[in-house]
């Protein structure tokens, strides 16, 4: 019988070890590489599912390893960890399938898939961290292993994008480290605790705590692309499509948002943070980011850049939900972690399909693409409508709870932000849908590949169809047991008295 406490470690290892093996593979060993990838993906998923059912039955999974005096490396399967972990491992599975199809025949695949796997190792580490130092370690690992993916193409443009990515994230990392160590000198512990672990800190350290909050939020805000720390994200669009999908929906951006969730709920405690007057400025910052991202998205002709600015805007819904303070807003914000994930990954998959199949990179080239690639475009449409907040797609549920939560917390101005943002979302997504479905297609696509009777290769087609379906199901069946919404309600009940 394997000790339950090693399960989180095994889960991490089941993507880490295949990654190491993949690095060692020669470029042409395609089948072995695929098998390793799939073994890693499937076993990771299996561990996550196993822990899910175990936690339901009251089991406790915690790997602990001494690092420094009084500081351990801790991997812990709590409700919020499983929530983010499940999202990451499911979407990673689909992204891996997609990436295998997308990179067919391109060079340096061993390097690519190695780092791709390491990305998920780091993301799961982030998800399952039991204290702030473990979180920080995996968070920095994620920064580093995503870098080779961003510069994967090896062009001058990708080098510059990678450079700007690192400048932002390393700077953010330095602030995080400072905030973390400073916090440790005040509290003597860094273990995540529902409702926070700072209540024993003296009143005289109020100023220090405020500074620490600002440092941590700024540090995480870099990856969560909070304005004005979002500059790296649109540039990073030079990376291959599966990387963009992974960065936006699962790994890098989400890790930042997840960090903010943890700082507010499990480090400071949301009510304590609100008492200290820290959440209101955060809400305002999130609101500004939501509007700014949407406005910028309106002006982008490049499809992926438009989606990137849309991410800037959408991720801040999560932060807004956190910062409104209140159980219902919390539900809206945290559940958007998953909802935005499935919708945005659908959009990036489909954008990749347009580029790979027809050579389309720009919105202005998308006339009539719905008739040429109906399935892909259907998936895109579901994702886009979900982003706007059209019921019954998942995005509607998030916005509904955010709105209700704002009313409950007497923050009526948030409603205006939500309406404004939805209008802007419609403003940049509906023209795309109109072009794709209702305008005549051009005589010749920019760069067309032929996939026989299908609209594109199956490995590129199936992942977005599944994620689009998930976006629908998460909305339609939101109140059935095991849905993301129900799980988030459980999480929220732990964070409020």
């Amino acid at each position: 019988m394997i000790s339950d406490n090693l399960i989180p470690l095994f889960m991490i290892m089941s993507s880490f070890l295949p990654a190491l093996m993949i690095f060692g593979l020669a470029e042409e060993r395609k089948n072995l590489r695929r098998s390793l990838n799939l073994i890693g993906v499937v076993s990771t998923l299996a561990f996550v599912v196993y822990m899910f059912s175990g936690v339901y039955q009251g089991h406790h999974y915690e790997t602990r390893f001494p690092l420094l005096p009084n500081i351990d490396l801790v991997l812990l399967a709590g409700p919020i960890a499983l929530f983010f972990g499940a999202l990451s491992s499911v979407l990673w599975f689909l992204t891996t399938v997609y990436a295998i199809g997308y990179l067919e025949g391109s060079p340096h695949r061993s390097r690519f898939f190695g780092f791709f796997s390491l990305c998920i190792t780091a993301t799961l580490g982030v998800a399952f961290s039991g204290n702030l130092i473990t979180f920080l370690i995996f968070y920095e690992m994620l920064t580093l292993v995503a870098y080779p993916l961003i510069v994967h193409r090896g062009t001058e443009e990708s080098r510059l994008a990678g450079q700007s990515y690192l400048m932002y994230t390393i700077f953010g990392g330095a602030l995080l480290l400072l905030g973390t160590v400073w916090l440790y000198t005040l509290t003597g512990t860094l273990e995540f605790t529902p409702r926070g672990f700072i209540e024993n800190v003296d009143e005289e350290h109020y100023f220090a705590l405020v500074s620490i909050f600002i440092l941590l939020i700024t540090g995480f805000g870099v990856k969560a692309a909070l304005v004005p720390l979002h500059g790296w994200l649109p540039l990073a669009m030079v990376a291959p499509a599966p990387v963009s999908a992974l960065l936006h929906a699962v790994a890098v951006v989400k890790a930042g948002a997840f960090g903010i969730i943890l700082v507010v709920y499990e480090v400071f405690g949301v009510e304590k943070a609100a008492d200290m007057g820290l959440t209101q400025p955060l809400a305002v910052l999130a609101a500004i980011t939501i509007i700014y991202g949407s406005v910028m998205a309106l002006y982008q002709d490049d499809l992926k850049r438009r989606l990137a600015y849309s991410t800037v805007s959408q991720v801040s819904y999560i932060i807004l939900g956190v910062a409104i303070v209140g159980p219902i807003a919390t539900i809206g914000g945290v559940v958007h972690l998953v909802h935005q994930g499935v919708m945005k990954i659908t959009l990036f998959f489909t954008a990749g399909n347009f580029a790979e199949t027809l050579g389309i990179h720009k919105v202005s080239e998308m006339n009539g693409v719905g008739r040429r690639m109906p399935l892909t475009m259907t998936a895109f449409t579901i994702g886009a409508l979900g982003m706007i907040g059209v019921p019954p797609i998942a995005g509607f549920i998030s916005k509904w709870y955010l709105g209700l939560g704002a009313l409950q917390a007497d923050q009526e101005w948030v409603i205006l932000i939500l309406i404004g943002s939805s209008l802007l979302n419609a403003g940049y997504f509906l023209p795309i849908l109109y072009r794709a479905w209702f305008l005549p297609s051009p005589e010749k696509w920019p760069h067309e590949h032929n996939f026989g009777s299908r609209e594109t290769s199956l490995m590129l087609l199936i992942p977005p169809l599944i994620t689009a379906l998930l976006a629908l199901i998460f909305g339609l069946l939101a109140s059935s047991p095991y849905s993301p919404l129900e799980w988030v309600k459980l999480i929220a009940s732990r964070e409020f008295y």
């Binding site: 420094l68 390097r111 370690i137 080098r159 400048m167 160590v181």
Partner: protein, 487 residues
């Protein structure tokens, strides 16, 4: 059987093996590679057994010939010495594996005797407990190192070696004057005896000024670092690696020992503050210079100047912060030795690969030398202090210590230093991925040269993961307690 093995004098063998190896490889110079590898393997085994016996039985003390101090020579090893010996053996192994393919037959003849002599000197130094033996070992190491620096046989190498020779001789001379004064004043060379006898007199502080000055010069603390970049950047790759990784640490080790046992307890904080300021200066100046370099080898050399600064910050932070800062020093010194030697070996690979080390003209290195690239990246992670690496643990301790004492100036220096080092490391890495405007064909690099660099870098990373074991070793004999008692 085990009992018997434990009683063997492993510490003495640590000095005798490399000394014998040096003599044999000099006499039988054709077989230098084999003799060198065998010797370094024996050294590694001896360190393992010495470590085992120290962990089991506490501090090691051996009086050679049965004559106790102050008359005889003592070999002494506590946790700090042990960590330094392990560092020497690991880096020594990495460099030796690299060197067997690096040198031409002619250079190889001269390399092995000198290199094994250096290992013997380093081991002797880390096992010594009296200030004159320190001098002997230091002089031996210094002269052998200068000769190795000139091994490249170029005009530039001679100039670099010449400057280095002057610096190291002047440093030893100053140190020797200090030893003389101290002996004259307090009648002993043994550190333990001295630490009981010394009083805060002018003689004491003049001798400290002499010894300290000499050691600072040898350690190349800003602004006495002028000799380091030319020497470290013009030497052959394995020599640069051993200069930066080990030689610098030997003089720093003496400084720490002297400070903790003899001078520190009597000081009033002036020296610590000065060291802290110079350290901060070194971090900023070294990092800034590294960032400006267009040649990789010079960049790595200036990075050493900056990293030495961190070691000296610890003096200021330990003044009222206790042993956290000294633990930081152990991690920083150890991880720097591993990471920096890996980096210089990487530079050696790149020089052979493309025939140059112009950073912006690096040509698709990541694609063609993935192992070398990984080595540089991992070493860089440790140098920057990103988690989880030995460098991270070291900088974490320094940061914690600075925050506990609310020394905001040092906090800013620490963060700024890390950001600057990230800037210069990633400047290099980003050019690993792109093609150059003047593409060149790839030359084959022997596998052991790539792997030696990677394993050293990997060790720097693992040092972070196993930090709690390293800390428990360092604690043996509580080398940092004297300073703690002052609190």
């Amino acid at each position: 059987m085990m009992q018997f093995i434990m009683t063997l004098p492993w510490a003495i063998m640590l000095i005798l093996f490399p000394l014998t190896g040096a003599i044999i490889s000099f006499l039988w110079s054709k077989q230098g590679n084999k003799i060198g590898l065998v010797t370094i393997t024996f050294v590694l085994i001896s360190v393992i057994f010495l470590a085992w016996s120290i962990i089991e039985q506490d501090v090691y003390l051996h009086t050679i010939g049965g004559w106790d101090a102050p008359l005889g020579i003592n070999l002494y090893a506590d946790g700090l010495s042990l960590v330094m010996l392990i560092m020497t053996a690991l880096v020594g192994l990495g460099i030796s594996i690299y060197a067997i393919s690096y040198f031409s037959a002619d250079q190889s003849k001269r390399f092995w005797p000198l290199w094994l002599l250096i290992i013997a000197g380093l081991n002797a130094l880390f096992l010594s407990s009296d200030i004159f033996n320190y001098y002997v070992a230091l002089e031996l190491i210094g002269l052998a190192a200068v000769s190795l620096t000139a091994l490249g046989n170029t005009r530039k190498a001679f100039l670099g070696a010449m400057r280095y020779l002057l610096a190291t001789l002047l440093g030893s001379l100053l140190y020797l004057f200090g030893v003389g004064l101290l002996y004259h004043g307090f009648g002993s060379l043994d550190i333990a005896t001295l630490s009981r006898n010394v009083q805060s007199t002018p003689v004491l502080w003049v001798s400290f000024a002499l010894m300290g000055g000499g050691l600072l010069l040898k350690t190349a603390l800003f602004p006495l670092h002028f000799w380091l970049p030319p020497a470290h950047s013009s030497a052959p790759a394995p020599v640069s690696a051993l200069l930066s990784a080990l030689i610098i640490k030997s003089s720093f080790y003496i400084l720490i020992r002297l400070w903790l046992s003899i001078f520190g307890p009597l000081g009033d904080g002036t020296v610590e503050s000065i060291f802290g300021l110079l350290g901060a200066g070194a971090i900023l100046w070294g990092s800034f210079q590294a960032l400006r370099q267009t040649r990789l080898k010079l960049l790595v050399a200036y990075s050493t100047v900056a990293q030495i600064g961190y070691l000296f910050l610890a003096f200021a932070l330990a003044m009222s912060g206790g042993s956290i800062a000294w633990n930081a020093v152990v991690f920083l010194a150890f991880s720097h030795a591993l990471a920096k030697s890996a980096m210089f070996l990487v530079v050696g690979n790149l020089l052979r690969f493309g025939g140059h080390d112009e950073i912006i003209h690096l040509d698709r290195v990541a694609q063609r030398l993935p192992i070398t690239t990984a080595a540089f990246a991992l070493a860089g992670i440790s140098i920057i202090g990103l988690p989880l690496s030995g460098g991270f643990i070291g900088k974490y301790f320094l940061l914690e210590s600075a925050l506990l004492q609310e020394q905001w100036g040092f906090v800013i220096i620490l963060l700024l230093g890390s950001l600057l080092s990230a800037a210069y490391i990633f400047k290099v890495i980003s050019h690993f991925f792109t093609p150059s405007s003047t593409p060149h064909d790839s030359k084959i690099i022997p596998a052991n040269m790539e792997w030696a660099a990677l394993l050293l870098a990997l060790a720097a990373i693992l040092l972070g993961l196993f930090s709690s074991s390293v800390l428990s070793i360092v604690d043996i004999g509580s080398p940092f307690e004297l300073e703690g008692e002052k609190l």
